[in-house]
Symmetry: C2
Subunit: 378 residues, 2 copies
């Protein structure tokens, strides 16, 4: 399912492609976040227009709403959304982590209360795989426990063991589940945990690899730890993961982080940054982050980003989007989100070309220099 096209001569970066039953995905890839079966404010047509090949939806959210009966009646998530390209699903592990006051973890799984109506539910590794089988997504994630930052070594070790036990159960369930398959070629990724303890991270990586998954994620990043620590974890752990399988840094990241992590051997990323920051008025540009609310844009009749080929920059000016945002027009949230997603996809192409042409270091320096030009208070 994964093919490396080029390995950098400068560092651990790779350019490749993931093949799913819904198409090819060029890597390194940034995946838009479609938590509730929609990338916030963006239509399928718009996702296609900017070249989206893969996005990430969420098992926990879709299980609660619309619920598996609806998804099954629709014939899976692709049909429910009418999205014909690839979809990956997060397992709900991170959501369970986020709602620490609403859940009880045991060896068998997690009991939690719905954030919508307070109703009680139970996720076991088996159940989470069954849900993902019903969703029919192209890449499934194992159900993991994501330790908070900071965690004690003892907690991190117990959490790691639990995640490993669940990973094995997930793999077995994918083989043995009696559920009807809407997608015969679903792939399953294991997740490396271990918090900030490098020996635990190594242990987690090795034992997860031993279980043999289709790809490997580094989880428990971007949970509040200092950036130097996450960078160090990725630097040490990514090279331990099998070279011929995709590597995924969950919940990462900013444009700067993506350069750093690709350099260290990561192929896949997901983050709410382009859409969430877009809804807060931030436009990502190759000259830096721009706060469209700033008065300086009121009569700036240039596009959000000079030289940008996205549908938003082709049509609208900073002044117009500034006006819409200040008036509370919802259209502005869509325009900023769509531009930002395009920016991320263009960034990934730029990085990919830098890998293929062996000028990663130079391209990264050039990007970083320009990306700090705009000094908006964001």
């Amino acid at each position: 399912m994964f093919e490396i096209i080029k390995k950098s001569k400068e560092n651990n970066a790779r350019a490749g492609k993931i093949i799913t039953s819904h198409g090819e995905v060029s890597t390194p890839v940034f995946m838009s976040v479609a938590t509730q079966a929609a990338v916030k404010t963006i239509s399928n047509e718009e996702l296609r227009a900017i070249g989206t090949e893969l996005f990430i939806a969420n098992t926990y959210h879709l299980y609660l709403r619309p619920g598996m009966d609806t998804i099954e009646a629709a014939g899976g998530l692709h049909k429910f959304m009418n999205w014909e390209r690839s979809i990956i699903t997060d397992s709900g592990g991170f959501q369970v982590y986020s709602m620490s006051e609403l859940r009880k973890i045991s060896a068998e799984g997690v009991e939690f209360q719905s954030h919508i109506d307070g109703s009680t539910h139970f996720f076991s590794p088996e159940k989470v795989i069954d849900i993902q089988i019903q969703l029919g997504t192209d890449i499934m994630m194992c159900f993991d426990e994501c330790p908070p930052y900071p965690s004690t070594r003892d907690y991190a070790k117990k959490s790691l063991d639990l995640t490993l036990d669940w990973a094995k159960k997930c793999k077995d369930q994918l083989m043995n589940s009696p559920l009807r398959r809407v997608n015969a070629k679903q792939r399953l990724f294991g997740i490396v945990q271990g918090s900030t303890y490098m020996d635990l991270r190594r242990e987690s990586a090795q034992k997860t690899i031993d279980l043999d998954f289709d790809g490997y994620a580094i989880g428990g990043l971007a949970v509040g730890e200092p950036q130097e620590i996450s960078k160090d974890v990725v630097e040490k752990i990514a090279p331990l993961l099998p070279e011929n399988k995709p590597r995924y840094a969950m919940g990462v990241g900013t444009p700067e982080e993506i350069w750093e992590y690709v350099e260290r051997g990561i192929d896949m990323f997901d983050c709410v940054l382009p859409t969430r920051n877009g809804r807060n008025g931030q436009a990502l540009t190759f000259s830096g982050k721009l706060n469209i609310k700033n008065a300086r844009y009121a009569r700036d009749f240039g596009p959000l980003d000079n030289g940008c080929e996205c549908p938003v920059c082709a049509e609208y000016t900073r002044a117009y989007i500034h006006h819409l945002f200040r008036c509370g027009e919802l259209l502005s949230l869509k325009l900023l989100s769509l531009h930002n997603l395009y920016f991320m996809l263009k960034l990934m192409k730029l990085i990919r070309i830098a890998v293929i042409e062996d000028n990663f270091t130079q391209s990264k320096v050039e990007f970083m220099e320009k990306y700090s030009l705009i000094k908006d208070n964001n």
Copy 2:
């Protein structure tokens, strides 16, 4: 600027076209409402895709935000929005009417407080024309006073006289304003007032016609009066208006009302219904109004409207939009609004063809029968 293509043999309906410096507009026409220089949630690309030829923006709102300096710097409203087809602007008369506690009316104009920051402003007929000259919209409306319902005969008479005096001043200002023209071919419409007093309505119509405008609106409708009264006003007044000029029923209306008013000789309509109701979860369909929030749509995998060719119905199901709406996904507001706008434009085509083919009465009956099929609690 107006050409009648067909007069119905059955009633007072007409099919025609309005020609502006930004293109042709087939009539009868339903104009989407772009109060703040955007049809709520909808992009230019989407407006073009569904065949929008003309929408209505608002002088009062645009004067306050983004303000005339910005509009002037952009080179007019068309350039500010990047909209190359026709635009009409309401004069602000209705907004002044709506904020009865924030304004003071005198013979010279209206002093009012901004709904945004409470700052004090003054609109005279001359000022309102100057603003519309700066906006450069294709059709401008005279500054009028819109009496509330109910109004005493005395109030309605005084209001009518004021509106007539302002209409004359508006026309003079359009000729004599020293402002630079971004649109050399702006047209100006007069507005008939007179509340529910038919003799006052007739007087207003005659004296407005005497001033000779490019088109005539019937104002003061849809302000809370019984539908029978508004229908009666239109039935009596429309035929008094010059046949060779477009006739516009301001703020109207529902699909049912549009049939009634076209039948009585009206050519132009505007209403927030398709977008506002869309944002509240209502889909307009040729089988009636559908409330997408209803549980019955949770597993309804048909389109919003069977047989609809709009971009929303081509892509998404009721079940999916139901899910998005219940999750609070902003995308659902856009999808419902866009579908509803398409519905209105399709309705207008249907009505136009009924006029041209002289089967208005039958088409109307058929529409009305089908349009009441869905019994959703809206």
